[in-house]
């Protein structure tokens, strides 16, 4: 979001010299064939890649793992133990490991598509994909809560914090409902989408801006600015490496926390 604001702030300065700043239109890629767009191909490709790699890594299930199996176990074990078990607890976590592991891998690979040469487009910068995943996580944690506590029990569990009694509930309960049921999926989706969108926009801005300054509006000062813009491009790319991982991790972590809250016993 901050990066988006920064881009917006930079745009007027550049636009004075005939430079067309990148905007949302740059994300609206033309279809490849018929109604099929690049993100559609990418999201299917990501699923195929993830399944192929994880299946190849897990197929042998050897007691002494090879390199690929070791790497697969490292990733799987990280989500399984570091996220699912630690947050949901040893009693229920195994049921949610497949979902959380798939979620983490899916978001991670689609994010890193943004930096992989020739692909270079983060799938989740199209908000629809982020909404879809957030909706699934919303269905999961609410479904689990209703399965565990019953519908009314779950509503009570979610909307009434432990130890709160009396008229103040009139204020607290709607707020809790709003926060836990309505706002959560929106923030989950927007956080992912906005980070990917803004990061990619920033990369486009530095790449195209540097190119414009160096080749179309050449002057000694502009050349320095252009080189700086390209240096920034590399800096932001490095930052994006971190952000892309973090967004995958946070999405998975928050889903695990929502599930954990839903399956928790009465306080």
């Amino acid at each position: 979001m901050i990066a988006g604001n920064l881009a917006a702030a930079l745009v007027p300065m550049a636009s004075g010299g005939g430079f067309t700043p990148p905007g949302p239109a740059d994300f609206d890629l033309p279809p490849i064939v018929g109604g099929i767009t690049k993100p559609m191909v990418m999201i299917v490709l990501s699923a195929v890649l993830i399944f192929a790699v994880t299946y190849a890594a897990s197929r042998k299930a050897a007691i002494v793992p090879g390199r690929l199996q070791y790497a697969g176990e490292w990733a799987y074990g990280g989500v399984r133990n570091g996220i699912a078990r630690d947050i949901i607890g040893t009693e229920h976590y195994m049921k949610f490991v497949p979902y959380l592991f798939t979620l983490f891998a899916f978001v991670l690979v689609n994010n890193y598509f943004g930096l992989i040469p020739l692909i270079q487009f983060p799938t989740f910068s199209h908000s629809g994909y982020a909404y879809g995943l957030a909706a699934l996580s919303w269905l999961l944690y609410n479904g689990v809560g209703i399965w565990k506590h019953g519908f009314l029990g779950y509503m009570k569990h979610t909307c009434i914090p432990a130890g709160v009694r009396g008229p103040v509930l009139l204020l607290i309960a709607p707020l809790e409902f709003l926060s836990n049921i309505l706002v959560r999926p929106v923030t989950l989706a927007l956080r992912l989408f906005a980070n990917m969108f803004a990061g990619h926009l920033l990369l486009i801005l530095f790449a195209l801006g540097g190119e414009y300054l160096l080749f179309e509006a050449f002057s000694p000062i502009n050349a320095v600015g252009g080189v700086l813009a390209w240096v920034m491009f590399f800096g932001v790319s490095a930052l994006e490496l971190l952000v892309m991982f973090l967004q995958a991790y946070v999405f998975t972590l928050l889903t695990a926390m929502y599930v954990s809250g839903a399956v928790a016993d009465e306080h």
């Binding site: 609206d28 990501s46 699923a47 897990s58 074990g77 798939t102 899916f106 908000s127 629809g128 879809g132």
Partner: protein
């Protein structure tokens, strides 16, 4: 929806394409099912087998250790028994040796005293024999002497008397060196 946004003049990235929501969720669900069916069980199998292998190895090592300890204790016990046995045998041998030595000493003593006794009685018997033969000889000698004295010089009273007296004195003393 897309046309309406474009009609508004600017794309709003927050407004999604419905097709992308559906496609994203569907692809994710397919991947989830595939991973749940084909990948997770394999990883879990590897984890479980590894845990079992480690635990099995540990318990096997414990068993081996216990066996080794038992064996060691047994051997130590055997060693102590053997030492004890050896000491007992040595003690017994010493006792037996002492008994044998004292027996031998007694036997030797008895033998020695027997030999001494035998020698003494032999000497006594020989002496007796000598005394007997001496008596016989003294009688003969006395007779012979008396004959000579009588035949040779009866006139010399004094000499005759001295000879007889000395002879008799010698005889009575029993000295074998007389003859």
């Amino acid at each position: 929806m897309r046309e309406s946004i474009q009609a508004a003049g600017e794309l709003n990235p927050l407004i999604p394409h419905v097709s992308e929501i559906i496609l994203g969720a569907a692809v994710f669900l397919v991947l989830l099912l595939a991973i749940r069916k084909f990948v997770v069980p394999n990883f879990e199998k590897a984890f479980a087998e590894r845990t079992a292998a480690i635990e099995g190895g540990l318990s096997a090592a414990e068993t081996k250790q216990a066996e080794a300890d038992a064996k060691l204790a047994e051997l130590e016990k055997q060693l102590a028994d053997a030492r004890h046995e050896a000491a007992r045998i040595r003690e017994e041998a010493r006792e037996q040796g002492a008994v044998i030595v004292s027996e031998m000493r007694e036997q030797a003593q008895a033998e020695a005293s027997r030999i001494v006794e035998h020698g003494k009685s032999q000497i006594e018997a020989e002496r007796q024999q000598a005394v007997n033969s001496l008596r016989v000889e003294v009688g003969t000698l006395a007779t012979t002497l008396a004959g000579r004295i009588v035949g040779e010089s009866l006139d010399d009273d004094g000499r005759q008397g001295r000879v007889v007296e000395r002879f008799l004195a010698d005889l009575e003393a029993g000295t074998p060196g007389v003859n």
